[in-house]
Symmetry: D2
Subunit: 334 residues, 4 copies
């Protein structure tokens, strides 16, 4: 299978390159950026001696000539334009942006006007644990946000148990790579080091994504209160989910049972650590309870399970391969 | 006023030294450790050229000869023994340990047998914003824990507004200095760097302290779900408090009003940062709400407002000085 | 004495504010930036409740009306313009930029055209340990760079002992605050965290400053090979100096003797740490030797001894005060 | 080929496991620690779902039954005992300790009595770029120290050019994982974070190892002045080498030519970064010069090229495989 990576200059683009270079089935046949005409190693010096690939100024028609599937690691809005054209040229798309993740109304409230409603209607939300079957048949997968991935994997086992009319509180902590390569006061080393602070509390745009997906599977209408924080680490995120359940259940047992057959979700007896998942596709979960109040701690690598390795998992499914093929399992620990 | 510092080898001992060295009213007349017979600069090399003080093997009788008030920066249990003796010798005590913070039953459930019930009954919980008047008359102040300080300052304005029968969720993130100087796997640099994890979730012993104080002032019986995390910073802590209130109120206005006359509590319009309070006695608060769900973010320096500068504030009050005398106001930013 | 701070938006501007706010003799009567018309706390939120000062759009005539001395925390070239005007209006100047540090030819080779040769000729290089007497009489002090401060304090004791025709090697490691607040790829958190690299090796413009000052005092013409590195800390720098000496001397004894009367230089028996000097005006030195090869390790706070507290030391001398007045001595340790 | 890992509880043991798990030729058939009888995932939780291996209390006879080659990730002295026995049982050994790296006299001066002189005489120093041919025939390889690896790869191209009677200065900066998992004041997070300091300056025991190997290849007797520093990163090291050469040569061209055929040495035009090599077997080199003074900057992953991946490279050679087989090439960047 020939694969294109569009948007190769950022962190998730680099991670896509790294995964696909050692993937047993995909061959990278096209790498594009908005600028183009450079070598991959000039963008990512760590790849010197590893890849001699050239980077093109992205042209969907050229992509269609050489690739069966395209990974779009682009800002929202930009992704829509390429998706529309690539699909029309017969190229499958895994879109890592927000463009096809949520319903039109919600999208337009939190992002911008949607310019590709047609494809929005059939796009599949690419969380394998939730939509495995549909992903297999999809030509367009909307890769979930990093916060929604960690939050939903924590929440899903409780879909039928959360007490109606109680709010869900999600307190998330993310490494700085989640904000991308763009320069800003808030990603300056001096702002982040020795520091921690919340940002966009209760108004972050990943909140409606979490709510939409959880409401659907729980058949509820929950108040999702989502507060993300920036912490002085590069990659990885830890998400604390606090819920109230209706009946007294053994929360740990339930989560263990729910994920018994999921290789890439590890339910642990001790509080989970970002370090154990950094560099991998694993989501580590820990759960404990105080009567009907439940605390779930969910750890993922924001650039992998929260972006690029999840994109490859989706591509594996869309192309008829084993879902786990080529996904990273060895963490960066120590 | 002559002051003794007992337990000068740890981080809070060092901070006490630093504050008292430049305090306009207190003179350090005694510095003790369990080992003794060394120079202060051998314990804390940063004090070379600043102080030539000697450190004694702690002897309460010697303390009583030269000090009016003693700061105990000791482990729990050890503190009790010294407190009893120092009080009997007429020395006022500010105890930074947990020994006199909570009621006997609760203490014995979470710590150990209490061996000084007599003094426990009259000890005053040293959170000035809560107990200013009583502290002025106290001979023994129990300096609050760092987590309870940050949590209670966030919760106090809502004492009359939290909806009965709803749980309180507190998600706290602390710098590593909070765990002290003792060596352990979990304070090894390699364990902490690039990492974050919860510890003692829902069973940390600062939870009952928060509950006891908040129940009392709110006249309620709240379920306090407290989850602390270790983050890769040295000092400072950020505490997220999530509550549900009974009536729709303007939470920000209420907090601003509640703390209008408190110099050392700064209510901010933007999410608070640990960096702005590190090195100071300030507690910075941010509050926002989604209908009846409230998020309060509270930032303090765990070693100062969460320990040593709060101890000096208490000592100021106990000795009839202005509460704010000599407390640090210039943060370590940038 | 009334003092103005010009260029208050950066890190060194903030440090000047912090030192002068608690200085027993200086009163801040003017704070200027290029933009002006804002509050100091909007630039530096950590100063909320500490200072209610306004920030003006810098106007030298207004400065002259209210200040006896001005601290310029400005980029090179910009500083020249203000210095010329302020001096002509009778205001003493401590310039923290590079504009008056080195001779015209060298300056123009490494920076830009010099536009104030007149004042350049009488400006005094503001390293108190080197030029104390001249600084007392100066109306214009050129505050040394951070790297030259740490390097020269290490080198000065050996001025008469370095073997002619041997190169001097200086391997320096600086915290990121040294590069200022400006956004760049190289100050992005993700670039710095978990990383270290050299920059401008052998071509950094602090090299000619070190050479000029050391050549003068040693009456030599030394090859100074200077390599700075960026390390993942916010403040502080550690400078390794490697020299070869002509006779076998006891290097440690010599350094101890050289600095016997200098309060703010601490010669230590163990390798020095940035942490012990962060937050202070101290320079900590360690020296050891292998026959005629000498290693000196020099630690300072780049924003204080390498900039703002050194500026205040110079101002103290220029205004007839005790040199050490109001200089910070309590480090940020732990 | 069946491989044993002896000493699996530390950082280098974990890295060996990670490399060998995905190696195309080696199968891990034995994992031992001094304690034994535990699961690999209890030692290294990041391996949950990745390996279900058991860990044995090390018994060389059992090793010999199931393994052709053994990797010893043990403290010095302990390694000697096992090596002697394993070799006598016909098992090839790659020893990651210092026990067989240097000559007896030197070893005994810096470490302890040597108890296996017989095998010391035929052990091959396992730096492939230096000893490739001998390693292929070896039954015992002494894996170089991390500092010597980075230093020698920087120095080797200059073996014939360093000016006699000039000292070599090596200023090294290492991540904390280099000091291992053992608890000590100097690996406590609070000691390392926001800090940097030298340790064992001019007396570190990697200095004689560098000298011995460089003297041999250069046929000289050089004074090696080696100063290591601890910096607040987990893995990776950067080594600055300063030398004086006899003739004016183009140092960069020479290094490029020297390593033209070495895949795992990347000579760069810009100063090298630890981040580009972390997670890989690459050594990145940068070189620049000021007349006859040369600065070489050398970056490696201390746990991989400085330990475990170099051990696997040696094992590849000893077992007749391609040297590069299974060595990690994808860095942890970003």
């Amino acid at each position: 299978m020939n694969a294109a990576i569009i948007g190769a200059s950022g962190y998730t683009g680099l991670e896509l390159v790294k995964i696909l270079l050692s993937h047993p089935k995909f061959t990278i046949t096209y790498i594009g950026t908005s600028k183009g005409n450079e070598s991959l190693t000039s963008l990512h010096p760590s790849l010197l001696h590893v890849s001699e690939a050239r980077v093109e100024k992205t042209d969907p028609k050229e992509v269609a000539k050489c690739a069966d599937i395209a990974f779009l690691a682009l800002p929202h809005k930009t992704a829509m334009g390429y998706t529309k054209e690539l699909l029309s040229l017969g190229v499958k798309v895994v879109d890592l942006s927000a463009d096809y993740r949520i319903q039109k109304e919600r999208y337009e409230e939190f992002y911008c006007l949607h310019e590709d409603e047609k494809n929005l209607t059939h796009a599949v939300y690419g969380l394998p644990e939730l939509n495995r079957k549909s992903i297999k048949k999809a030509t367009l997968t909307a890769n979930p946000g990093c916060y929604p991935t960690a939050s939903l994997l924590a929440l899903l086992p409780f879909a039928k148990y959360v007490k109606k009319d109680t709010p869900i509180f999600i307190d998330a902590k993310s490494g700085v790579s989640g904000a991308g390569k763009k320069l800003s006061d808030s990603s300056h080393f001096v702002s982040i080091n020795d520091n921690i602070h919340a940002y966009n509390p209760l108004i972050h745009r990943h909140a409606p994504e979490i709510k939409e997906k959880f409401d659907k599977v729980s058949e509820g209408d929950f108040e999702v209160n989502f507060v993300p924080h920036l912490i002085p680490i590069t990659r990885g995120m830890l998400v604390s989910v606090y819920i109230q359940i209706q009946d007294k259940i053994d929360a740990l047992k339930m989560v263990e049972k729910f994920y018994a057959d999921e290789y890439f979700v590890r339910v642990r007896k001790k509080p989970v650590s970002v370090k154990d998942v950094a560099g991998t596709h694993f989501c580590d979960l820990f759960v404990t309870q105080n009567k009907n109040s439940i605390f779930i701690s969910s750890a993922i690598d924001n650039l992998l399970r929260g972006a690029s390795s999840q994109a490859v998992a989706n591509a594996n499914l869309m192309c008829g391969f084993d879902e786990n093929l080529g996904l990273p399992i060895l963490s960066y620990a120590p």
